[in-house]
C-alpha cells in the first residue's frame, strides 16, 4: 500500500502521546526526521502491519492526552503504523469515548440507563450544560452514577455515585469528585464478617493492592495446585465441576477449555472478557476492584490449562478503578514471578495485558472482542468458525467472563466434585447476582444456585422503605421482565429458561411503583439503537424501527404497532449476526406479553 496522508500535521503533544505507545519513529516514512539511514533501510510491510493491534491503545493515548483525535494525529498514527487514515478514522469513530471533533478536556458522562433513571437519576433531556448522556456505568448499587474524565498527562478518570443534580452541575463547572466509596460497600454480605463467601471471600478483608495480603488469604494456592495436577488435571476438574459461562451464554467451561487445549494450531491465546456493559451488571467490576489478584491468578491457570502464553483482559473503558487495580495486580504478579517466564518453576511462560475498551457494548461479544483487540472496528464475526478454532489473530482462543474465571480458583483448590455438589441439577455451583433498584441493600450477592427471586430480594433487605414492587428485570436489557407474581421463580438456568426468561449476566433490577415502565422500555430501545454495531440490517435498522414504534406506542397504543414490534422481534432474533440483535427485543417483548405494558 502507498500510504497517502494529507497536509494536516500532529502537534507536539499529539506526537508525544502517540510516541508514548509506539516509540519515536526511526525513519522519515513513519513521520520521523529524514536522515542518512532513510537511504539504506526501510521498516515497512509485515513488520509494521504486525503492530496493528497497537492502534486502539494509541488512539486511547491521544484521546487521553488531548481530549480528542485530530486529523493531524490520525495522519501521524497512519505513518507510524502504516495503516490508511480512512481505516483509522473508521476504527476511532466506532467508539463512543473517542471524539473526532475538538471538545473540552473535561467530559462528564451522566449515566441515564435503567437502574440510574429508576433511582431518580437524570434523563437525557434533563442534563445540565457541559455534560452528556452515557449508557450504564456499572455502578448500579450506588445509582445514579457519573463518570468524569479529564484529558491531560496523565488523564484523570473518576466515578461519582450517587450523584445529585447539583453535584453533576458543579462537576461540569470544574469541580473534581472525592474518592469513591470503598468497594466493600457494593457487597453487603461481606460486611458481615461471619459470612462464608468464596467468590467475594476476600473483598473487604484484603487490601486489593497488596499481593502479600492476597497470598496470606490463600492467593496463588490454586495456581500451585494447578501446576501440580497439570493442564489435563485442571481441565478434568473444571469439567467435573459442571461450571458454565457466567457472561450470559452459559456454555460449559470445561468443554471450551478442552477444545482450545486440543487445537493443533499455535499459538493459543486467552482472553478475559471484562467488557461488562450489560445495563444493570456490575459483578465483574466489583471483583476486579476488590480482588484483582484473583482474576490474574485465574487467567494464569486458564492459560496454563489451554496452552496459551499470551493473555488479554479486555476491560471496559468506563471502569477506571478496575483498570488501575488490575494493572497494579499484573505488575505486582510479574514482580513476584507469577507472570513472565518459567512461572513457579513449571516451565510455563505467560504474559498478561490489559486492553482498554473505548465505549462499545458490542465489544463484549466474543468475536467483536477479537476485532477490537486486533485494531479493527469491533464488529462481530460470523460463526463458524468458532473462537476455539479461529479466534484472535486467527488462532485458537479461549474467551471467558471474569466471574467464570474466578470460579475456577475454588474448583482447582477444592476439586470439581465439591463444586458440582453445590446448586441444582441444571445449575451447578455459586452465582453472583447484581441486585439493584428499589431494595434496601443493593449490591453483589454470592449465593448457591437454587434460591428463589424472593429469597434473593430478602437477602438484599427486602424492598426499600416506601417502595412497592412493580416489576423485576432479569438478565439486563438483553434479558426480560418478570412481575411481582413471579417471586417464587428459582434463580437457576433451567427455571428461568422454562419461564421464558434468562439469568443472563445475573442482573436482578427491582423497579418500584414510582418507575415509568414505558420510559424504561424507551430507554432499552434507545440503548440498542446506540449500541448496535450497524453491520447487519435486522439489527441496524431493526433497532431504529423498534425505538420508533415504542415511542409511538408511548403516545397511544395501536394494535398494528404491537404486531409490527412482534414481527421485528422475530427477524432480529432469527437473522441478526450476533447476540446483540438477537436479544434486542427480548425485554420489550416480555414487558408487553408478561407485564401487559401496552395493553389497551
Amino acid at each position: 500500500m502507498d500510504l497517502k496522508v494529507n497536509s494536516s500535521v500532529a502537534t507536539r503533544d499529539e506526537r508525544d502521546a502517540v510516541d508514548s505507545v509506539l516509540g519515536t519513529p526511526t525513519q522519515y516514512t513513519q513521520g520521523g526526521t529524514r536522515g542518512e539511514q532513510d537511504l539504506r533501510i526501510s521498516r515497512a510491510g509485515e513488520a509494521l502491519r504486525n503492530l496493528r493491534h497497537m492502534l486502539l491503545p494509541t488512539l486511547h493515548a491521544v484521546n487521553d492526552r488531548i481530549g480528542w483525535i485530530s486529523r493531524g494525529s490520525i495522519n501521524y498514527i497512519a505513518q507510524q503504523l502504516d495503516v490508511a487514515p480512512a481505516e483509522i478514522y473508521g476504527v476511532a469513530s466506532f467508539y463512543a469515548l473517542f471524539s473526532m471533533t475538538e471538545r473540552p478536556k473535561r467530559q462528564v458522562h451522566v449515566c441515564i440507563d435503567l437502574a440510574c433513571r429508576a433511582m431518580g437519576g437524570l434523563k437525557e433531556d434533563q442534563l445540565p450544560e457541559g455534560t452528556h448522556p452515557s449508557p450504564c456505568l456499572g455502578t448500579c448499587e450506588r445509582a445514579p452514577a457519573v463518570l468524569v474524565i479529564e484529558a491531560g498527562n496523565p488523564a484523570r478518570h473518576e466515578i461519582l455515585a450517587p450523584a445529585t443534580p447539583e453535584q453533576i452541575k458543579s462537576l461540569a463547572k470544574g469541580e473534581w469528585p472525592e474518592a469513591e466509596a470503598t468497594v466493600v460497600s457494593a457487597t453487603p454480605q461481606a460486611q458481615d464478617t461471619s459470612s462464608k463467601l468464596v467468590l467475594l471471600g476476600r473483598i473487604g478483608k484484603v487490601d486489593p493492592l497488596l499481593i502479600s495480603d492476597y497470598q496470606k488469604h490463600g492467593g496463588f494456592d490454586a495456581l500451585r495446585k494447578a501446576i501440580q495436577i497439570g493442564a489435563t488435571g485442571v481441565i478434568d476438574e473444571v469439567n467435573t465441576s459442571g461450571l458454565v459461562g457466567r457472561g450470559g451464554a452459559a456454555f460449559p467451561t470445561g468443554r471450551k477449555w478442552a477444545a482450545v487445549a486440543g487445537q493443533p494450531a499455535f499459538p493459543h491465546y486467552s482472553i478475559c472478557n471484562a467488557d461488562e456493559s450489560e445495563p444493570g451488571t456490575f459483578k465483574d467490576r466489583v471483583i476486579m476492584e476488590g480482588d484483582p489478584f484473583a482474576l490474574v491468578e485465574a487467567m494464569i491457570i486458564a492459560s496454563f490449562a489451554t496452552g496459551s502464553e499470551q493473555g488479554f483482559i479486555y476491560l471496559r473503558g468506563e471502569y477506571p478503578r478496575a483498570i488501575r487495580n488490575v494493572q497494579h495486580a499484573i505488575d505486582e504478579s510479574k514482580k513476584h514471578g507469577f507472570l513472565g517466564d518459567n512461572i513457579l518453576g513449571s516451565g510455563f511462560n505467560f504474559n498478561l495485558t490489559i486492553v482498554r475498551g473505548a465505549g462499545a457494548y458490542i465489544c463484549g461479544e466474543e468475536t467483536a472482542i477479537f476485532n477490537s483487540i486486533e485494531g479493527y472496528r469491533g464488529e462481530p464475526r460470523n460463526k463458524p468458525p468458532f473462537p476455539v478454532e479461529v479466534g484472535v489473530f486467527g488462532k485458537p482462543t479461549l474467551v471467558n467472563n471474569v466471574e467464570t474465571l474466578v470460579n475456577v480458583l475454588s474448583i482447582v483448590k477444592d476439586g470439581g466434585a465439591a463444586y458440582a455438589a453445590l446448586g441444582t441439577d441444571g445449575s451447578k455451583g455459586r452465582k453472583l447476582f447484581c441486585l439493584s433498584g428499589a431494595v434496601a441493600k443493593p449490591g453483589i450477592y454470592e449465593v448457591e444456585f437454587g434460591i428463589t427471586l424472593r429469597q434473593l430480594i430478602d437477602l438484599g433487605g427486602g424492598m426499600r422503605n416506601g417502595s412497592t414492587m412493580q416489576a423485576i428485570l432479569l438478565g439486563g436489557a438483553a434479558g426480560g421482565f418478570v412481575g411481582p407474581n413471579d417471586l417464587d421463580l428459582p434463580l437457576t438456568m433451567e427455571a428461568t429458561r422454562a419461564a421464558g426468561s434468562s439469568l443472563g449476566s445475573g442482573v436482578v433490577m427491582v423497579l418500584d411503583q414510582s418507575v415509568d415502565m414505558v420510559d424504561q422500555l424507551r430507554r432499552i430501545a434507545a440503548f440498542f439503537r446506540d449500541e448496535s454495531c450497524g453491520q447487519c440490517v435486522p439489527c441496524r435498522v431493526g433497532t431504529v424501527r423498534q425505538e420508533e414504534i415504542v415511542s409511538r406506542l408511548a403516545k397511544g397504543v395501536q394494535s398494528q404497532d404491537i404486531e409490527l414490534l412482534r414481527e421485528l422481534g422475530t427477524v432480529m432474533r432469527d437473522a441478526s449476526i450476533c447476540g446483540l440483535g438477537q436479544t434486542a427485543n427480548s425485554a420489550i417483548d416480555s414487558a408487553i406479553n408478561k407485564l401487559k405494558v401496552f395493553a389497551v
Binding site: 497517502k4 490508511a84 467508539y95 450497524g534 435486522p538 431493526g542 425505538e547 432469527d574
Partner: protein, 311 residues
Amino acid sequence: MSTQVTTGLQVRRSVQLTIDDQSVTVAEGETILSACRTMGKEIPTLCFGDTITPKNACRVCMVEVEGSRVLVPSCSRKVEPGMVVRTDTERTDHSRKLVLELLGSSVDLSLTKNVARWNTEYEAEPTRFGKPAAPTTHRDDATTGHHHVADGSSVSNVLQPVKIDNELYVRDYSKCIMCYQCVDACGEQWQNTFAIGVAGRGFDIRISTEFNVDLTDSACVYCGNCIQVCPTGALMFTSEYNMREAGTWKEEEQTQTDTICPYCGVGCALTLHVQDNEIVKVSSPSDHSVTHGNLCIKGRFGFQHVQNRAE
C-alpha cells in the same frame, strides 16, 4: 485424517447434503447459496457480489439449517456433509420480507436489481413503518453512541445529498445498503488503496474517507473498482449520473461491447456501454481471468479520446 493427493489443482472432496428434501452433491468449500444455484433455486441476495468475500451483512439470503437455533446466511455458510437445509419456510420468508422492508424503508433501492420483484414475491411493504423522515445533511457528523431519541412521528432513513467532488464518479449514499463491497474492493481484497472505510456505528454507520474529506483529498486513485462492485447504484459514473438527471439515460437502448484495454500490457477486459454511439460507462467482466472485473483509472475512465470527433 485421510491423506489427499494434490497435484497442480487442489483436489476437492464432494459433499452430499439435502436442500428442500432434495439430495444434492457439490464440491467441498462451496456455499449453501452456490449449491442452491446449482439446483436452479433462486435465493435473493443484496450484499453478495461474485468477486468479493461475502460480508453477509444484508441477511436477505437466510435459510434454515437443521440444528441451528438461528437462520444462517446461505451466501457464506459452507456446505457440510449431511446438512439439512430449508430455503422456503415461514421463517425464511418472514426474514426476507422484513429485511426487504427494513432496507426499503431506510434506503433508496430504486436502482437495486430485483428488489421490486422480491417485494411482490415476499409481500414486503416498506411503507408500513410510517411516514419517511426528510433527508438530512449531517449524517457524516453523527456522534457515536448518541442519537436524538425518536418520537416515532416519522421513519428514519439515510437519505442525504449526493456527494459530487470529482469529475469521474459520484457517491449517492442515499442508495447505500452498507454491503461493504466498495470498502473491500478499495482495500485489502483488490486495490490496496484504502481511500474509504466504514465509519460510525449502528444506524449512523457510513462509507467515508477520513474525516469525510473530498475524494480529491483522499487516497483515491479513481480505479472505479468500487463502482464495479456497487450493487445499488450508490456509486456511479458522472456520465451516467448526468444522463439520469437529464432523463436521457436509456439502458434498454445501450449496447455492450467487450474489448481489451489498449493502454498497457496487462490486457484487462473492458465492457463498453454505448448509447447513441457514445461510450457512457465502462465495466469489466467479473469472471474474466485477467483482473476479475478490476481496472485502473485509464481503463475505467480514459475513454474520452475515442470519441473526440472532428466538429
